[in-house]
């Protein structure tokens, strides 16, 4: 064996070892560990662009772990409207409605405020490994950074996206790109995350662009204006009773 062929073999082995050094499940676990916080507060905005132009919706969101989230809109048109997520259940509160709406079934597929996000997109966070069989397809370089390329296939029926493809930054453990597909392989949504900043020891993307492939000329950019990962949230903020107050 010549020196050159030895070198090529050694390089191949190193590459193979580096891919297999981490499993797909470990990558997802790292992503979730970085993404999920004990208590967080975000002040943000959504810029929704479609054939009719652009609209801005501002919001404050509170989250605790992977299962609880409260989104309150602050822009004048929807001021005071709230979306509460408790595990996989979604509740809507409107200041002029006398009851809290519990969204179920096909209503979860509806768009949030006319954006490219659906209510379904807000659920199922934090339990990707329960819902999907994850396969590591390899490594890719995106914008000069090393990424893991993953494929996610639904383990059970009824999930919003039977197939997904994700690219995870190998250093920050942030999913910087994700494509969602139907069972037949049709692209449903495209998501890009960027402007990653280190906040309280974690890497947080400060913008997300979502494109619903079923909508023509439509995209939604979500921006984080302010983030507090050690927020001291009011008690019962995630309760149905508190929602109507």
């Amino acid at each position: 064996m010549t020196r050159l062929s030895f070198l090529i073999l050694a390089m191949g082995l190193t590459a193979a070892l580096s891919v297999s050094a981490i499993t797909a499940e470990e990558i997802i676990a790292n992503v979730e560990r970085n993404e999920i916080n004990e208590e967080e507060r975000i002040d943000g905005s959504m810029i929704i662009s479609d054939r009719f132009g652009s609209r801005v919706k501002t919001f404050i969101s509170y989250a605790s772990g992977a299962d609880k989230m409260l989104l309150e809109f602050t822009n004048p048109e929807e001021k005071g409207q709230k979306i509460l997520r408790l595990e996989d259940e979604i509740y809507l509160y409107f200041p002029e409605a006398e009851e809290v709406i519990h969204l179920q079934g096909s209503a979860l597929k509806e768009s949030v405020m006319g954006s490219d996000f659906s209510y379904e997109d807000m659920t199922g966070e934090g339990d990707l490994l329960d819902q999907y069989k994850v396969t590591l397809l390899g490594e890719e370089t995106i914008d000069g950074r090393r990424h893991y390329h993953l494929e996610l296939e639904a383990k059970k029926r009824g999930l919003a996206y039977p197939k997904q493809e994700a690219w995870v930054d190998a250093e920050y453990w942030v999913m910087t790109r994700a494509n969602s597909y139907s069972l037949s392989g049709r692209l449903l949504k495209e998501m890009e995350l960027g402007d990653i900043r280190k906040v309280a020891g974690k890497y947080v993307p400060h913008y997300i662009i979502m494109r619903d492939a079923m909508k023509k000329n439509s995209s939604t950019e979500m921006r984080i204006e302010k983030i507090d990962l050690q927020a001291d949230l009011p008690p019962n903020v995630f309760s149905l009773e508190e929602l109507t107050w």
């Binding site: 919706k57 409107f94 709406i101 006319g114």
Partner: protein
């Protein structure tokens, strides 16, 4: 004159035969008279409902609204609609000017989602258009500015909801965001148009504006004219009025040019014309068949009168006169019966609600046949003429046969 007497005597002599021939003509003319009245009523109802419920004689919308109608683009609206309404109300020949805001909603009730179509209306102005008050079967109309609504009977049934209960609606607002509001149901309405009874609900237009985050905006303004024939002239006049007042983003359309609706009416008219023609031909066949059969049956009689010296020309005239008298009398009776059936039904109507349930067509659940004098007179003359002419073929043929041979006929 002599032949006329003989013809009358022949009719009286064999009453059963005359009755058979006459009955066929009576039934045919009666049925055609009624059918024509029904079709006239049907098309009139369809046209009236399209104008009252959907388009008015003139429809004003934002110039881009139609292109995106499926997306319920509330931002493409008629701004300052009150001013538009007031300006057009001042014009001659205007019966009503109504602003409307149409929107789609999701209705959440008992953990189920229902679809609904909302209409924000000015109940006072709608008296001349949809006349909602008369369609109210329970409760009262909503009050201006209040969070109140009335439901169509079908929707109330599907939602299992009664007057006095509350209902929460979700909709996409003018800014494409969500709006939710709870409304008191003050009444149940059974619209004339069966298709409206499944999913429609109405609320005051200012309440709808608050719900949809619209200002002094409506999705459309409809105008009803005293004389619909003046529609094109009124459209031109409206365009000038709006343009002079600075509304340059509005489209003014005559109802005959709105989408496919008018085309649908023309299509329905054609279908019904074909339907009437087929029925007309069938009825003609019955008349011709009966008349010819009756004359063929009388070949021996023809032989006898020929043997007695009546010329073939006289024989043909005799049978023509017989057929003419029977035809005229029977057609008159048939038309009279047809009119007698139509007139009370024109008042009470025919309930087709069961048949029309779930049919997405602007037809009333009760149809009122309309007697059309021109077609009724035409039916009378047509039936008489057909019966008379039908006598020519067999009588001419029989008259040509030698009397001896004719006498042998069975």
């Amino acid at each position: 004159m002599k032949l006329a007497k003989i013809a009358f005597r022949n009719i009286r002599r064999n009453r059963r035969r005359s009755l058979l021939s006459g009955t066929a003509i009576v039934v045919a003319t009666m049925a055609i008279t009624f059918l024509f009245s029904y079709i006239t009523g049907f098309l009139g109802d369809y046209e009236s409902n399209v104008v009252r419920y959907l388009t008015g004689h003139v429809r004003i919308r934002h110039v881009e609204y139609d292109e995106h109608e499926q997306l319920n683009p509330l931002h493409l609206s008629v701004a300052n609609y009150e001013e538009v309404v007031r300006k057009l109300e001042a014009e001659d020949g205007v019966v009503a000017v109504v602003p409307r805001t149409r929107f789609f909603t999701a209705i959440y009730r008992n953990d189920q989602t229902f679809g609904g179509i909302g209409l924000g209306v000015d109940f006072e102005r709608e008296k001349e258009m949809m006349n909602i008050q008369d369609s109210l079967v329970q409760g009262r109309l909503p009050r201006t500015g209040e969070r109140e609504m009335i439901l169509s009977a079908g929707l109330a049934r599907d939602l299992d909801l009664e007057v006095g209960e509350k209902l929460t609606l979700l909709t996409k607002n003018k800014y494409m965001g969500m709006s939710g509001m709870t409304f008191l149901v003050t009444g149940i309405v059974r619209f004339q148009v069966a298709g409206f009874n499944d999913s429609f609900f109405l609320m005051p237009i200012d309440t709808a504006a608050r719900f949809l985050k619209m200002d002094d905006e409506a999705t459309e303004v409809l105008v009803m004219l005293r004389d619909p024939k003046q529609v094109d002239a009124f459209v031109e006049k409206t365009r000038v009025i709006l343009s002079n007042s600075g509304w340059n983003d509005l489209s003014v359309q005559a109802w005959t040019k709105v989408g496919i609706i008018y085309g649908m009416i023309r299509y329905a008219q054609n279908i019904y014309d074909i339907f009437a023609l087929i029925f007309f031909l069938l009825a003609s066949t019955v008349i011709v068949n009966t008349t010819m059969m009756v004359i063929y049956e009388r070949t021996r009689e023809i032989g006898t009168v020929a043997a007695m010296g009546m010329t073939p020309r006289e024989i043909v005239r005799l049978f023509f006169l017989e057929a003419f008298y029977i035809g005229a009398i029977a057609a008159f009776i048939g038309v009279l019966i047809g009119v007698a059936i139509t007139l009370p039904l024109a008042r009470t109507g025919i309930n087709v609600g069961g048949i029309m349930e779930g049919v997405d067509m602007e037809l009333s659940s009760v149809l009122y046949p309309q007697l059309n004098i021109r077609s009724t007179v035409f039916v009378f003359f047509y039936a008489t003429a057909i019966a008379s002419l039908a006598s020519f073929i067999p009588s001419r043929r029989a008259a040509k046969i030698e009397p001896v041979e004719a006498l042998r006929a069975v």
